[in-house]
Symmetry: C2
Subunit: 226 residues, 2 copies
Amino acid sequence: MSIEQAKAVVLVSGGLDSATTIAYVQSKHFLCYALSIDYGQRHISELNFARGLCTHFNVVEHKVIKVDLAALGGSALTDASQQIPTEKSAGIPSTYVPARNTIMLSIALGWAEVLGAQDVFIGANAVDYSGYPDCRPEYIDAYERVANLATKAGVEGSGFRIHAPLIDLKKADIIKVGYKLGVDFSQTVSCYQASPSGAACGICDSCRIRKEGFLEAEIDDPTVYV
Amino acid sequence: MSIEQAKAVVLVSGGLDSATTIAYVQSKHFLCYALSIDYGQRHISELNFARGLCTHFNVVEHKVIKVDLAALGGSALTDASQQIPTEKSAGIPSTYVPARNTIMLSIALGWAEVLGAQDVFIGANAVDYSGYPDCRPEYIDAYERVANLATKAGVEGSGFRIHAPLIDLKKADIIKVGYKLGVDFSQTVSCYQASPSGAACGICDSCRIRKEGFLEAEIDDPTVYV
């Protein structure tokens, strides 16, 4: 009798965190169902990178679900008329997208329930992050509680675990983990204003954190800059 | 000096619960921002009723945001090949849409944060409901905690309150409250398989609960049945 492999839903944006997360989930022998959210982000090329990652890692299925968060406004990431900041912000920066991770996790939760998956993975991380509140461990824990109260599988079934395996890692450590797991970082994009082909600006918050991560990890940075 | 009216985001489906919720929010003198989610529900006529309600109640703004939950499958409400049940189910019925309220509340939360609103209202109710887990008070409480951990306004600002004012009311009581507040129930639709014009089937779970509610409330049922 063969043991059935467990299914997992993994949120994939096309950045290096989600590439490392997918590689991690595969290394744990889950059947990997990848989910990307087209929320009206201006760096839409990340969805092409997400598709590439899913092909590379040979996931069982990759879904791209559209939610028009640009229609709600309120973020430099969805509003092309706002400048992307290039200096580290004192507080939470203008690239914060209101409720983004909560919306993405909720769609992932819905899909996980349909698939009969108990495990949902997100590449959120709280260390070298930009100060986003929905990247902190206490947020992930509270969300897991909601997931188990909100759903049929939570109430009648075996419930859900929300995993953020990178949450306590520095960017340099994420790069080291990904590197060991065979991630090709040239096939990822982190830039908030990447060109349509995925070339990075080199000056936004996300580029800065990524660049410093490669330096600190002492791993060659394969990023293509404009 | 005039006192500024507080803004509230209200989820509006076009059913009698959300009509009563909108009327309630207006009666509390909030500036009402209505949000409807086009999630691929087969009873899409409810969105026309939602638009009608928003016009009737003269809300400040009504947004309809599309999220393709039908692409995830798993519910008789988004899959026309599944039969809508006409008998009361023993457990949670097939009309349950995985994570629906969590997805809808999350988009409402994002919009509330953009607007600077502290209050989000949903017409969920736990008494004569169909057994949906995301209509229970403990779920709403857990979601409020997530809302305040997930967001900039939760962490740095004045935070959020998630209100489900109907949660403890029987359907008959919701109808009485709505009636007192001037809701025209002929302009609402509850049926899971309403015709394009909004005529109700009269036999699904939702029709059954609505019908019994009017009877018990001793208020004329203005529902148009096919």
